[in-house]
């Protein structure tokens, strides 16, 4: 019931191919991470929509194998 950071990064990039993803483990339990995701696909979207796009990329894992992913999203600055 845990995931490593590389898997999370890969899944997010599969869903959002241009994304820059940085992941930090908040605890050493494979269950609590913070991710900062930057993608042009976020332009013009609300924060809720941006997070939903990341959740979609992670599929059913979010809330299950992955208990806690503190998420920060933004569009790249021009």
């Amino acid at each position: 019931m845990a995931m490593d950071a590389a898997t999370i990064e890969r899944l997010i990039k599969e869903g959002l191919p241009d994304a820059r993803v940085s992941i930090e483990a908040l605890r050493d339990d494979g269950d609590h991470y913070a991710a900062h995701v930057v993608s042009a696909a976020f332009r013009g979207k609300s924060r809720v929509q941006q997070h939903q796009m990341v959740f979609q990329a992670l599929g059913s894992r979010m809330g299950n194998e992955l208990h806690a992913l503190a998420l920060q999203t933004s569009a790249p600055e021009d």
Binding site: R47, V48, H51, Q52, F55, L58, S60, M62, G63, A68, A70, L71, Q72
Partner: protein, 110 residues
């Protein structure tokens, strides 16, 4: 799937101006993320209804489909889904949360 659960959730977020779906109760949150949102709302003096999803597994699953949001807590204001812990915290830090409450005419402690 279960339309009755969705109907119940819709009813709750319509009947109450501010609703927090959370793990535990406002007095005894059972998860750090839920506790964070409770703290922010309490700090702002916003009155809210806490719904403990641990007390009802149908709501716990139903709320995730209702909002297309896989995690708890979830904050609703005047029927609108505002976000989970990260978004609420970010909005609080930038002042957007206070502004949103003002726009929606929810009393906030000055």
């Amino acid at each position: 799937m279960d339309t009755t659960v969705h109907d119940r959730i819709r009813q709750q977020v319509t009947d109450n101006p501010v609703v927090l779906f959370m793990k535990g109760t406002p007095v005894f949150p059972q998860c750090g993320f839920s506790a964070t949102v409770v703290q922010i709302l309490s700090h702002l003096g916003v009155k809210f209804k806490g719904v403990d999803v641990l007390a009802d597994s149908s709501v716990r699953e139903g709320i995730k489909e209702f909002s297309s949001w896989p995690t708890i807590p979830q904050l609703y204001v005047k029927g609108e889904f505002i976000g989970g812990c990260d978004i609420v915290r970010e909005m609080f830090e930038t002042g957007e949360l206070q502004q949103m409450f003002a726009e929606k005419e929810i009393p906030v402690r000055a």
